[in-house]
């Protein structure tokens, strides 16, 4: 479709602020070399509604962990997170993307 484009997986994990360090550590162990965090403003799910809150312990303020990586690493990532999904209330989804400098991902 375009110059030297390669298929990679874009994986997004919704994670509570206090658990970000844990998610990053787990992702790195699974082989992720790059990621970006985005702050979320609020949301709603089975556990009710929340909104961004930096004043209190913000135990339910969420961030989006975003990583573009290979299918293999993404699979390993999902495997590594599966036991945590329920206990840590993580939300994960993935989709295919095309990247340009494939050596970066």
């Amino acid at each position: 479709m375009s110059i030297s484009a390669t298929q990679r997986v874009r994986i997004e994990i919704l994670v509570d602020a206090p658990l970000v360090r844990l998610v990053v550590a787990t992702a790195k162990e699974a082989g992720v070399t790059g990621y970006t965090l985005v702050r979320a403003l609020g949301g709603e799910g089975a556990g009710g509604a929340w909104r961004e809150d930096r004043v209190t312990g913000a135990a339910d303020t969420k961030m989006i962990f975003l990583s573009v990586t290979t299918t293999e690493v993404a699979d390993q990532l999902v495997e590594a997170f599966t036991p945590l999904l329920d206990s840590h209330r993580l939300i994960v989804w993935r989709s295919m993307v095309e990247v340009i400098r494939s050596e970066k991902f």
Binding site: G48, W50, D53, T56, A59
Partner: protein, 323 residues
């Protein structure tokens, strides 16, 4: 200006009520979270400095050591009755009961600060070293809550081991800023403080007004969205601070603190953390429901303490000292 009614007419409390009413009425009034966080850091630096400067002026005393030890002991012990009540009357499982109990053993900085304002206005200013007691009381309850939640046998494990968690809790931003400012206050003393007093002393009460406006909004919004807060649990969120406040007042009086400091210890004991402990619990007991422990400590206990608890515990401490 002491007495319950006088307290209610303090601007600090009135702004809290304004925030609470605005949130009840579903107004879109909101303090940007970055600004709220900024004010909360300011308050911690200010209260730390003030305490340190006072200690620098008065010097170290045996009372101070006793108060510190009492604070640590209370933080370790108070989760126990709370845990018992939460499992029996509150019908919580061990994990959630342990998480909530940790909050009630630990302390709330803003409840303390508001208490100090009220006590000072009433002519009973607590001693400066109570700030250090506040900082000392933040952490032990976390350990106790974890032990209760997991049972002694089972170890923590996982990516974040027990020691890692302890390190993170002891170096929690609010603990570090409180203790750091307290030590800076001791180092600079009254003379060094004069230069920065316009910000950290003259500005304190006004900033506290804005912060309590924010907390009024946050607390009531949390109350509205609290799904797991049953009536028995809401009752315990009032009953537990009453018990803890009484224990604090008795202990403070027994170890010989002045009325103001004994009242402050009671307020600390009665207060429930909503900064250090929720973050630690989310990490150490991820299965526990953050919606629950934040609703109890922030949406019920905090307003109760601000509006009713503080004058109550201080009256109790005054009564006890008269015995």
């Amino acid at each position: 200006m002491a007495g319950t009614l006088g307290v209610l007419f303090s601007p600090v409390i009135l702004f809290f009520i304004l925030g609470a009413l605005a949130a009840f009425a579903r107004s879109d009034l909101t303090i940007p979270e970055a600004v709220g966080k900024g004010i909360s850091l300011y308050l911690m630096a200010a209260i730390g400095l003030k305490g340190g400067v006072e200690v620098a002026t008065i010097g170290f005393t045996l009372e101070m050591v006793l108060a510190g030890l009492a604070g640590i002991a209370l933080s370790f012990v108070l989760p126990l009755p709370a845990f018992f009540l939460l499992t029996r009357l509150g019908k919580l499982d061990k994990v959630n009961a342990g998480a909530v109990a940790a909050h009630y053993g630990s302390v709330s900085v803003v409840t303390f600060v508001t208490g100090v304002e009220v006590l000072t206005a009433g002519g009973l200013p607590p001693a400066g070293y109570m700030v250090a007691v506040l900082a000392l009381m933040e952490t032990p309850a976390i350990i106790m809550g974890l032990v209760l939640a997991r049972g002694k046998a089972e170890s923590a494990g996982g990516k974040h081991g027990q020691s890692e968690l302890l390190r993170e809790t002891l170096l929690n931003g609010s603990v570090v800023l409180l203790m750091g400012s307290f030590i800076i206050g001791i180092l600079i003393g009254r003379d060094g403080f004069v230069q920065i007093a316009p910000v950290f002393e003259a500005g304190f009460r006004g900033m506290l007004c804005l912060f309590l406006l924010d907390l009024g909004l946050i607390a009531v919004r949390r109350l509205r969205e609290a799904r797991s807060l049953t009536l028995p649990l809401a009752g315990l969120a009032i009953f537990i601070p009453l018990i803890n406040g009484t224990i604090g007042a008795v202990v403070g009086t027994l170890i010989g603190l002045d009325q103001g400091s004994a009242s402050a210890l009671a307020i600390l004991a009665a207060s429930a953390s909503y900064i250090a402990v929720p973050a630690a619990m989310r990490l150490a007991l991820p299965q526990a429901d953050p919606g629950l422990y934040l609703a109890m400590s922030l949406a019920v206990t905090f307003p109760f303490n601000i509006l009713i608890g503080i004058p109550l515990y201080s009256a109790l401490a005054q009564g006890l000292s008269g015995l």
